[in-house]
């Protein structure tokens, strides 16, 4: 099945003996000139790339004070060394967070510290050579920017920000990554990561309306570009395209239908994802975010809700207001923006949804906290709501739920292995190996608690798991959307299921 060795799941999450250089390689496919230029980067490696990279680094150290603090404050305490899923899965010491940071730090020291300028060997400083650049390209694409290591760092050093800075420097000298950059170009040109044009989107949504009506007898709508709707839903385009994502989208529509609110999708903002974050490019992140503002204004909506997408929620929750705000034209009585799970939980609490939990009795669920939601946001007004809200929704629609072990969930959650722009086939080895700790924790609850399915609230997590679960002996359909569970249990007013329920109760 694979042209690399798939790790075996052990009794516990084991810290491996280091195996230096085991993940050396060329890294993912390099962006072609057209992918680079569409984002405002040079098409290929510029002649004076070393000089340009150092200048860019200097610019970033001034602009992002955090980057300079992260460079200067590491005391090599070792707390981060065993916290990265890519280190646990590969044993390559350059995948220890401190090892990854040091790739950047040694160049920083050489050009921006007195010690490094005068006595480079004494302070671990190194010239930015071609060899170093190649190491950067390879290992900064073995980090999913999940920020688990930063939770355990006593100084709060955020390796994700260092990875983002390194990627930004590389893109700016002409060595960007194909997967992310091609996708951002599609967002600018067509409106979403997939490159799904408006007529195809309309056709797909029409098909979903037919499907739901066939299943329930109720005409649930999945509106597109409907001016004057109350809510604009921005969701990952994978929700239109792939499984199990689409079952989540079906669920959002059913919830809106039952809540009696008007809503719409937008063909201009037909994507929640913002890969500008992954490549560390503020300009591109802003340009992607502005589409959402424009769509909200064009359609005259009053509320903005995001579908199940991990990093999109980080960008939305943490940065949307400064990137694309102010959103003073929206109804301020509601959170701006709001997460779909918070909306659904609100309806569950109000009692507007007729739920038959037994519809999910064929499953025992566990929940995978997505890194960007867990460590960068809330889903509700209180600290920890990003953990409580999804679990409250799952428990409200399912009878059987158990959590995985505590050090692998909530703020300590392990990345799925495919986040941060790594969800591409040319990084399959990294993705499969990086999934090891999550697969270990999953196996425990499968064997001890009878868990059959894992629910997630991120398009990347869902795609990554459907791909890597089979490498570890699970089925690809053991990953589900949270709103798929809601959809299963929700009995629509006037549906065939409602009549059956009434007959059974009579």
């Amino acid at each position: 099945m694979a042209d690399f060795e798939v790790p075996t799941i052990k009794e516990d999450i084991i810290v491996p003996h280091i195996n230096p250089g085991v993940m050396e390689g060329e890294g993912p496919f390099v962006a072609r000139p057209e992918h680079q230029e569409a984002l405002g980067f040079p098409g290929e490696l510029v002649d004076n790339w070393q000089e340009a990279a150092v200048a860019k680094m200097g610019e970033m150290l001034k602009k992002y004070r955090s980057l300079k603090v992260f460079m200067d404050s590491c005391v090599k305490c070792g707390a981060c060394t065993d916290k990265c899923h890519y280190f646990i899965g590969t044993a390559d010491p350059k995948n220890m967070p401190v090892g990854r940071q040091d790739l950047f730090r040694k160049v920083y020291r050489r050009y921006f510290t007195i010690g490094g300028k005068l006595f480079p060997k004494l302070v671990g400083a190194e010239d930015f050579t071609e060899e170093v650049l190649n190491d950067w390209y390879n290992y900064f694409h073995q980090c999913s920017e999940c920020r688990r290591c930063s939770v355990y760092c006593p100084y709060g050093i955020d390796t994700a920000e260092i990875t983002m800075a390194a990627r930004e420097i590389m893109a700016s000298i002409g060595k960007g990554m194909k997967y992310s950059n091609e996708i951002i170009g599609k967002v600018f040109k067509i409106g979403n990561n997939l490159g799904l044009p408006e007529p195809a989107l309309a056709d797909t949504l029409e098909g979903l309306e037919e499907e739901v009506e066939d299943d329930t007898g109720v005409a649930v709508k999945y509106p597109l570009d409907q001016k004057g709707a109350e809510i604009l839903l921005v969701t990952p385009s994978a929700d239109f395209f792939a499984e199990p994502h689409v079952d989540g989208l079906i669920g959002y529509g059913k919830v809106f239908h039952e809540a009696g609110v008007s809503w719409t999708l937008s063909s201009k903002a037909s994507e929640a994802a913002n890969f500008g974050l992954f490549i560390g490019s503020y300009e591109n992140m802003r340009r992607v975010a502005l589409r959402i503002r424009e769509a909200a204004i064009d359609l005259g909506v009053k509320r903005l809700i995001f579908g199940e997408c991990g990093h999109a929620w980080r960008v939305a929750y943490s940065f949307l207001n400064t990137l694309a705000g102010p959103f003073d034209f929206l109804d301020q009585r509601y959170p701006v923006p709001q997460h779909i799970l918070e909306f659904t939980l609100g309806e569950l609490k109000k009692g507007t949804l007729n739920i038959d939990k037994s519809q999910n009795d064929d499953m025992t669920l566990t929940f995978h906290d997505s890194c960007n939601v867990a460590r960068a946001s809330r889903i509700g007004p209180t600290p920890g709501s990003q953990f409580e809200t999804p679990r409250a929704v799952i428990k409200a629609v399912c009878n059987n739920f158990v959590d995985m072990r505590p050090d692998t969930i909530k703020e300590g959650t392990f990345c799925c292995g495919g986040g941060g722009g790594l969800l591409t086939d040319d990084l399959m080895e990294v993705r499969v190996k990086g999934a090891l700790p999550r697969m270990t924790a999953l196996k425990e609850v499968v064997e001890e608690e009878g868990v059959t399915h894992m629910a997630a609230i991120c398009a990347i997590c869902k795609s990554q798991f459907s791909k890597v679960l089979p490498y570890y002996g699970f089925g690809m359909d053991q990953i589900v959307s949270v709103h798929q569970l809601v959809s299963n249990a929700l009995i629509l007013k006037g549906s065939e299921q409602e009549s059956e329920q009434a007959e059974a109760g009579a």
């Binding site: 490159g195 797909t204 689409v246 791909k467």
Partner: protein, 111 residues
């Protein structure tokens, strides 16, 4: 860029073996790509490949999984209108493997 040589014709392909130019596609290259993957194209595969090409022709994108399963279900019967059937035909994933044989670009994004 790499290419596949077949019957005296050269087919340009990208890093992952997808055709660089849609118009280069013919049935022979589809069969050859499948052969290189160790697969053989049956009538059942061709039903899917032909539908993908027709859909792409109209919409400039591969169909979403539910659009595809529905169309195949209508053509070949309800028991085949599901992704399980499609994965049996295209074990590397219908979206990616079938698109490759059909000469379509690989779907990008969080899929």
């Amino acid at each position: 860029m790499a290419s596949i040589e077949l019957n005296g014709k050269s087919y340009e392909v990208d890093e992952e073996g997808y055709l660089a130019n849609l118009n280069d596609w013919d049935e022979d290259i589809a069969k050859e790509m499948a052969r290189l993957d160790g697969a053989e194209l049956t009538d059942a595969h061709w039903e899917v490949i032909n539908f993908l090409r027709e859909y792409y022709d109209e919409y400039q994108i591969a169909p979403a999984v539910r659009v595809l399963t529905k169309a195949i279900g209508k053509k070949l019967g309800k028991d085949k209108g599901n992704s399980k059937y499609l994965y049996e035909l295209f074990p590397y994933g219908p979206a990616k493997q079938a698109c490759k044989y059909a000469g379509l670009p690989k779907p990008t994004g969080c899929v």
